[in-house]
Amino acid sequence: MSVASSAAATSGSAEKPVLARFGSALASRLVIIVPYVWLAFFFLIPFVIVFKISLSQTAIAIPPYAPVLGFGDGVAGFVEALKELSFDNYVWLTQDPLYFNAYVSSVVIAAISTVLTLLVGYPIAYGMARAPAALRPTLLMLVILPFWTSFLIRVYAWIGILKPEGLLNQFLMGVGIISEPLIILNTYAAVFIGIVYSYLPFMILPLYSSLEKMDYSLIEAAKDLGCPPTAAFWKITFPLSLPGVIAGCLLVFIPAVGEFVIPDLLGGSQTLMIGKTLWNEFFANRDWPVSSAVAVILLLILIVPIVFFQQAQARAQEQGR
């Protein structure tokens, strides 16, 4: 008797009423849909618009390109307008070496800056992860603190520091290390300094999170097995922090490639970066179609590391870490 009733109770709890099950399935589907709707509205649709503009031609009109797609002339007019689209602007990008050089130069500057940021950020993240647990939230706070001031203001501040009569040169000359002011502002060095400074938190945070969760007894085990501290770092700590290294590098590299403000304010007129080129095409030349084409290519260049990043993350998750 009691066996039968308990069996009934079990099957009852397993099979919910049909309506409730349908409701919960709908709810879980809705939750999944929300981010997709977000992406569609704020990424996919704008991207399609930009892509369409990149296939158009400049025109002296408002907006400054043609054709303008619309259904004012019915479906036939829409199809007619579609036929006017072409890849001319992309062909143009390959013909003028300016764009190719700007892309290469952007990638190189971003890559060098990323390596420099890693070199500066790793010791900081390591120090934070090994700091007493009570101190860590404070240190984390200090890393995030600069975000509380405007990015633009912080970059302007670097002009004040780096210019020939700026704080750095005054200090170095005052101490007597140099007699002539160093020319840093409006050089690539200033761009590197600016990028490293601005993106450092994006490097430190993922590094810190992967270093902090690492079990310190692994290092002790390595030492116990005859490994001196430096070797233990390269054999244990560094390989285990690789997911953090990859995440940090991509978080710095991707926005740095398209960076506009830093090269414009600190790099001066002769620094060549694709963000600046894009800005010039758009605002100085008012050539929306070409600048749209530049933007689309930039996106394609950046998709490669993003896909790489996602694969690395999937691999790390598969390894259960």
């Binding site: 079990d215 007894s217 692994l218 002790e220 085990a221 390595a222 030492k223 116990d224 097995l225 005859g226 490994c227 001196p228 070797a231 054999k235 244990i236 390989p239 285990l240 390894q319 259960g320 870490r321």
Partner: protein, 379 residues
């Protein structure tokens, strides 16, 4: 080959005045800030001994092990290994290896790479490393898992990898920090015997830290019982259980009943002890306690008989009432409330299917024990 038992039976260098201790803690004190983890402690461990450090958490046993491994330096005193003072020698140059409580397996390396790690550090030739790793994998029966990563193994398999990795270098001393702590009960019992075999076959000195007294009793040649950074007793499992040196040790290892009382009279070996309520017991093993001394008589539950009538031949018999009965399968534990209010725990082996003297709750019952069944401890 001689059986494990016969080898272990004859192994007692601590009773040999000429035996040279292998590990020596000399007046070792370790302080962390104003907390004293280990207090002026001296200990010796002999070569090939299976030595257990037993104590509750925070008693300093792990600190002791970490000082031996080189992760902590003693604040005062010194530690000698095979005659060499270990002070200032970093962990990576000490001829000891440790098996960590968390196992500390390198998650990014396969099982064989984990085991080979220490050998590579030593600069052992590649062919020899491969041979040794294969040997170790066979020893812990993990040949089929050589290419797996630690996260693809079960808890018991990880434990064996950790063990193989720590013995691969053939250390002079193997330190084991709660080696079986993360295993379930059944696996733990099997592994205890595997560890003992391994220790015997490799001829290593083992120092194991544990809070589990059964584990220490099963595996160790000698046990050091620690409390608040001090050694309470160092002895074989039998001595620790049968002849605890203090009330702390008696209470810490196994269950015990304590009869508080006063030595009414004594001769060379036996004494009469009077309890607070006037009940009198006759005991052997009086030790140093003279007439008039306040003492406690400690007796294990399995050495007390429970019966419904006063056994005719019993020297010591006290009357009470059955207060609680716990049936554990292999034995039954009776809690008998004596007439003076003290509750006595007595365990009876269920060798026969039906007890010939059935007792149930609230029955009047007699507890009885022989004069030499317990031990007298100073109060």
């Amino acid at each position: 080959m001689a059986s494990l038992g016969s080898i272990r039976r004859d192994f007692e260098p601590w009773n040999d005045p000429n035996a040279k201790p292998y590990i020596r803690f000399e007046n070792v004190t370790k302080r962390f800030g104003d907390f004293t983890a280990v207090n002026n402690l001296s200990l010796t461990v002999f070569e090939r001994e299976f030595f257990a450090l037993l104590g509750a958490s925070g008693c300093g046993k792990s600190t002791l092990l970490r000082m031996l491994a080189g992760f902590e330096e003693p604040t005062e005193g010194r530690i000698l290994l095979d005659g060499q003072d270990l002070r200032g020698i970093p962990p990576y140059r000490r001829p000891v290896n440790m098996m960590f409580q968390s196992y500390a397996l390198f998650p990014h390396m396969s099982v064989e790479k984990n085991i080979a790690f220490g050998l590579k550090q030593e600069g052992m030739p590649k062919a020899d490393i491969e041979k040794r790793v294969a040997e170790m994998l066979k020893l812990v029966k993990l040949e089929r898992f050589a290419k797996r990563k630690p996260h693809q193994l079960s808890g018991g398999q990880r434990q064996r990898v950790a063990l193989a990795r720590s013995v691969a270098k053939r250390p002079k001393v193997l330190l084991l920090d709660e080696p079986l702590g993360a295993l379930d009960k059944k696996l733990r019992e099997e592994t205890q015997f595997e560890l003992m075999d391994l220790q015997q076959n490799l001829g290593l000195t083992f120092v194991v830290v544990t809070h589990d007294q059964e584990e220490a009793m099963t595996m160790a040649d000698r046990i050091a019982i620690l409390d608040k950074g001090e050694v309470m007793q160092v002895a074989t499992p039998t001595e620790v259980y049968e002849a605890p040196s203090s009330r702390f040790v008696a209470g810490f290892v196994g269950n015990v009943n304590m009869f508080e009382g006063n030595v009414a009279s004594r001769d060379a070996t036996t004494a009469r002890i009077t309890g607070a309520s006037g009940a009198e017991i006759v005991v052997d093993n009086v030790g140093e306690a003279g007439a008039g001394a306040d003492v406690a008589f400690a007796i294990r539950p399995e050495k007390i008989k429970v019966s419904s009538k006063r056994p005719a031949e019993a020297v010591n018999a006290l009357e009470g009432e059955v207060y609680d009965i716990a049936y554990l399968g292999d034995m039954t534990v009776y809690h008998v409330k004596l007439d003076d209010g003290q509750v006595v725990r007595a365990s009876v082996l269920n060798a026969a299917r039906m007890a010939d003297d059935p007792l149930t709750w609230n029955d009047r019952a007699w507890i009885s024990f022989r004069p030499d069944a317990g031990i007298v401890l100073a109060r």
